[in-house]
Subunit: 138 residues, 2 copies
Amino acid sequence: MADSIIDSLKAGGKKLTKPRQAILAILESNALPVTAAEVHARLKKARAPMDLATVYRNLTMLQELGLVDPVGLREGQMRYEVRHGREHHHHIQCRGCGRIVDLMLCPLKKLTQLVESQTKFAVEGHSLEFFGWCPQCR
Amino acid sequence: MADSIIDSLKAGGKKLTKPRQAILAILESNALPVTAAEVHARLKKARAPMDLATVYRNLTMLQELGLVDPVGLREGQMRYEVRHGREHHHHIQCRGCGRIVDLMLCPLKKLTQLVESQTKFAVEGHSLEFFGWCPQCR
DNA sequence: TGTTAAATGCGAATCACTTGCAACAAGGAA
DNA sequence: TTCCTTGTTGCAAGTGATTCGCATTTAACA
């Protein structure tokens, strides 16, 4: 587990419990964003079962600390991915099979300024997801 | 009601029922995206009450016909807005008060081609939402 | 006007997610 | 090490959004 994560938890007055470590291990082993249910299922397989409510509580907390990013793909459930050591990026999901692919790009720095001057909002974040058909499904 | 909407319904084998007309009227009178619950409440006020399930069924169907666009702002519920006669656009929502403002811009035409060549997906759509603090809340 | 397929209302179900609470476990202080 | 405080967990129940089954209507058109 990365020191930066442990430091962030400490700074937030959080404890490094066993269940929490297991969740972080699952998250770190996944390149792509996962749902709470998926984390729950993988913990069960990894012989570290825990209550789904605990999974949700931890994902919410990790998000508040800025350690994980939420990814909303209009699936009726949220996905989460660790931020640690990865560039800010976006995703594309296949409308056929649901496959998700990382897009290592974000064209929105300039656009953010435009939005700020246009709306007078202080922009704090954005979500950008693409939908389409993957090579196997098209 | 616009002829183009009626034509689309007809082409999809759909009927132009009274409840459906009422829903479309509500949608057309709203510049900003609304939730199913909001549509349901406004129909009640407008003395054209109908079952919430009917509202959902219609919103889903109108979306499938391409007459309304879904807008996901991570509020735990979807919003919808009529596409008819309006430019493709995005939104920004205040993290404080929830206020939504239209952004009449979309910088993603070029980016879509980049995504397509990078992933080999056939891009069919995207969602782009900004979050921040509005002038009153910042 | 009759026929038929689509649409509606109602109630129950599902699904993702949250909450209350008692038992438990980090982790710093003594 | 032991104690104490406070965050954490499991369990069970609760929400809130959305969907489904089914019997009853209603629009569309022959």
